[in-house]
């Protein structure tokens, strides 16, 4: 209960993040136009993950939230990744 004043994200930061996100989108479009086989999937998903971390941390304010909220979000993301990973293992090695 010690800090009551709210953190304000400057407009500049938001516009810079938007610029980064659009650049990453264009990069992922360009990269996937070149056929790199399975690597394409990995690169596209990696870029999506980087983009979502920007959205989560800056736009969704998580970088400035308390540890309770951030650890909850991280836990949910880990659970989702684990579910997807285990399901895939099942399908690949069945």
């Amino acid at each position: 209960m010690e800090q009551e004043e709210k953190h304000i994200i400057p407009y500049r930061t938001l516009i810079i993040v938007l610029g980064i996100l659009i650049t990453l989108t264009l990069i992922s479009v360009l990269v996937t136009q070149i056929s790199l086989g399975t690597l394409t999937v990995a690169i596209a998903l990696l870029i999506a993950a980087v983009k979502s971390s920007f959205v989560l941390r800056i736009f969704m304010h998580l970088k400035f939230e308390n540890r309770f909220l951030t650890s909850m979000v991280i836990a949910v993301i880990l659970i989702i990744s684990a579910v997807i990973f285990i399901t895939l293992l099942d399908y690949i090695y069945r």
């Binding site: 989560l56 969704m60 399908y91």
Partner: protein
């Protein structure tokens, strides 16, 4: 009387509640992503060919539209914190316009497919085989569910804009605006993954 009435408000709890709801949304889409991945694994070639028929240009445009709308709603929160009610409303209005633009693009995109007899349950699509039926079934369901979230988000933002006009939300009490922002960003977040999976990875 110098005593101000203290109304109990817990912004932290309000935001936590919103996040809990967002977690259920994440799990909903995560389930669909698992379905997509498994079917793609089983019907690699069909998914590969079917995905080529989606327009990368429209997909990219819609991605950028959603990213900009996410930035504008985030800026709207900054504006209300700086006590700039007018700018905050303008930014929300831009967000709503961009959301509608996304839906218009989606409408033409879907219309194009439906004109070509590609839609769930189409007998012409069924002739193309199981893989195509699965790909387009998932495409229509997942982008449709996402579009439904866009509509809900726009209604949410509309209600918030009304509250700002009526001064129920101001620089001292804007957690509702933050929550609508969180919802809108989640919708953007889901699209960030839908876009490469359906349009890019071919």
């Amino acid at each position: 009387m110098n005593k101000t009435i203290e109304i109990h408000r817990d912004d932290e709890a309000s935001k936590t509640g919103m996040w809990l709801f967002l977690f259920t949304e994440m799990l909903l889409f995560a389930g669909l992503f698992v379905v997509y991945t498994v079917y793609r694994f089983r019907n690699g070639t069909a998914f590969h060919l079917a995905a080529h028929e989606l327009s990368v240009t429209v997909g990219t445009a819609n991605t950028i539209i959603l990213l900009i709308s996410s930035a504008t709603i985030a800026m709207s929160i900054t504006a209300i914190q700086k006590n700039n009610k007018k700018l905050s409303l303008i930014l929300l209005f831009i967000t709503l316009t961009l959301g509608s633009l996304f839906l218009v693009n989606k409408y033409f995109e879907w219309g194009h497919h439906i004109k070509d007899h590609i839609y769930p349950g189409s007998s012409i699509l069924a002739l193309r085989g199981q893989g195509d039926v699965l790909f387009y079934g998932l495409y229509f369901f997942m982008t449709g569910l996402h579009a439904l979230h866009i509509i809900v988000g726009m209604v949410f933002i509309g209600v918030i804009a009304r509250l700002i006009i009526r001064n129920k939300i101001d620089s001292g009490n804007f957690v509702l605006l933050e929550n609508s922002g969180l919802y809108w960003h989640l919708v953007d977040l889901i699209w960030i993954f839908l876009f490469p999976l359906f349009y890019l990875i071919t």
